[in-house]
């Protein structure tokens, strides 16, 4: 995939402010991509919202890379209505490490972060209501982790609640 440096006022301003904490500032296949330290992610997002007008948090999701030292990659997609511009921010996270919650900046983050927690088991610091959203509350395991099998299930939960041996 073609990857070129992203140049302009916005990337220059971000690089000035965050320096080394911003790992990559690129156009990946023409899409604007930032990679930051997880410790700086909240500050970068807050700066993007308050100083650069990215007022719409499109999506929060994660990708699991079990072979990497920092297994998870959190992906925020932002959009600015005034500039008609989209930016993606990524940050790597180790197992057990807390991700920053952006619920204070964007209300849409509430459910989106709950889904990331539900599917990957990534916990968000300062989330007001962090519980499962799609899976049952008592379910064991996080389905979108790579080690979770496609036919795997929480057999105890299925037996207890659905009164059947297997949901498969």
């Amino acid at each position: 995939m073609p990857c070129e440096p992203w140049e302009g006022d916005l990337p220059a301003a971000l690089q000035d402010r965050f320096g080394e904490r911003l790992g990559r500032v690129v156009l990946l296949g023409g899409q604007k991509l930032l990679v930051a330290d997880i410790a700086a992610a909240l500050e970068v997002l807050s700066c993007l919202k308050q100083e650069h007008g990215f007022d719409y948090l499109v999506d929060v999701t994660a990708v699991h890379w079990p072979d990497k030292a920092e297994q998870f990659e959190i992906v925020w997609t932002l959009y600015s209505y005034s500039a008609n511009e989209r930016v993606r921010l990524k940050a790597a996270l180790a197992e057990g490490q807390l991700a920053p919650s952006v619920t204070a900046l964007y209300s849409s983050a509430n459910w989106l972060e709950r889904e990331v927690y539900d599917m990957f088991g990534i916990e968000f610091k300062d989330h007001p209501d962090l519980r499962r959203i799609l899976m049952p509350d008592e379910w064991e395991g996080f389905p979108l982790r790579k080690e979770y099998g496609i036919v795997q299930q929480d057999s105890d939960w299925v037996r207890e609640n659905l009164k059947i041996e297997s949901a498969q």
């Binding site: 995939m1 948090l57 999506d59 509430n110």
Partner: protein, 380 residues
């Protein structure tokens, strides 16, 4: 069921000792929840103090399935998310993979995609209109809407053999050429639709009961829409002239002349008017696309084996319900490494609590209807 926190502490403190306070469970088997949505309502008499949505009853693990299928094998699965707008789902997914492959789509395929997607927008809006009116107590519109929607489904059936979960598009273009009377049937449907829309307006727009049940109900202003990430007809009804087909055109939408209908207050009535006008605009787009339907191939240069190079892309389209995005990560193998669907219904439903607080319990039904959710997409 874990303990639910509904109202902010100050509201809770005020109402803790109030004997009027009541927790009411609505759904999951409730005709107005459009599937299996459970809403726990906290009420003070007739007034809603807070809501908590319990979702996931239709969770099938679509994103997990994607990682265990090849790129082509996964394409039919996306139709099962928003099953009343399956064509839009398919378009978004195909476009995301095409972006990874960096493949050009021939103009004829683009135009046919636009026609089918707009027909599907009409079908989706018709289903919304019928069921929304039904929820509020108007029985007649649902029969009329289903009658017109049937015409769209017939076109789909003639085109690809399926009516609902069509799998109409393929990565790289189209599988099927259009049939002989395709253009004629599309134009006839547009004529019919424009005539029938007048009928719906006669039934509802000036109807005093309809107006009183929808005006000032479930207001969500522009600032709240942006805060909650709400898109589609909801944000347009709040006065934001924003439509991805105009803001970031795809699939050749820049070639068609159409307007973005907006309204001002962002209440249920405004959202109704916006969607009604969107149907008119969809007919306009279909007419232009049919009139200028180019000749030529219907599939781009895509091999039999689809194996995008390692990389990632986020591609989004204006689905009938709002911004539908696909974030696809490829590791260079036959299967996608990760497919994330950014569902408009899920995000829009997140604003339900905001829209319901302070309204009457009967309005909750109207508000769920006006968000236009499909639970298959909320739960995936």
């Amino acid at each position: 069921m874990a303990e639910t926190t509904l109202a902010p502490p100050e509201v809770q403190a005020e109402t803790l000792l109030d004997s009027n306070e009541l927790v009411l469970n609505m759904g999951p088997q409730h005709p107005s929840t459009h599937g299996v949505l459970r809403v726990i309502l906290k009420l003070d008499g007739e007034t809603v103090l807070g809501t908590d949505c319990v979702i996931g009853y239709l969770h099938r693990g679509v994103e997990k399935i994607a990682e265990n299928r090849t790129f082509q094998q996964f394409a039919p699965y996306v139709d099962r998310m928003d099953y009343v707008a399956a064509v839009s789902n398919g378009l978004g997914y195909c476009m995301a993979v095409e972006k990874l492959l960096d493949v050009e789509i021939p103009p004829r395929a683009q135009a046919v995609r636009v026609i089918l997607t707009e027909l599907n927008r009409l079908a989706s809006h018709l289903l919304w209109l019928g069921t929304h009116a039904l929820d509020i107590g108007a029985i007649t519109p649902v029969f009329l809407c289903f009658r017109e929607r049937e015409e769209v489904l017939k076109i789909f059936e003639n085109y690809c053999g399926a009516r609902l979960t069509t799998h109409a598009f393929r990565i790289g273009g189209l599988q099927y050429e259009t049939y002989d009377t395709f253009e004629k049937e599309c134009l006839e449907f547009c004529d019919l639709m424009e005539q029938k829309l007048k009928e719906y307006h006669d039934l509802l727009t000036g109807n005093r009961i309809w107006v009183r049940r929808t005006k000032g109900v479930g207001i969500l202003n522009a600032a709240d829409c942006k805060d909650y990430g709400v898109t589609g007809p909801l944000i347009r009804a709040a006065g934001v002239e924003w439509d991805l087909r105009k803001a970031q055109p795809y699939c050749g939408y820049e070639n068609y002349d159409f307007d973005i209908p907006t309204a001002e207050t962002g209440d249920t009535f405004d959202r109704y008017m916006v969607r009604m006008e969107e149907m008119v605009q969809s007919c306009r787009i279909i007419r232009q696309a049919v009139d200028a339907l180019p000749e030529g191939p219907i599939k781009g240069k895509v091999g039999k084996v689809i194996k995008p190079p390692p990389g990632e892309a986020y591609v989004s389209i204006e689905a009938p319900k709002g911004e539908l995005g696909y974030y696809v990560v490829s590791d260079g193998s036959l299967n996608p490494y990760r497919v994330r669907v950014r569902p408009p219904s899920f995000v829009n439903l997140g604003a339900l609590d905001k829209m319901c607080r302070g309204s009457l319990v009967a309005d909750v039904v109207a508000i769920i209807g006006t968000i236009d959710i499909v639970l298959g997409e909320v739960d995936r």
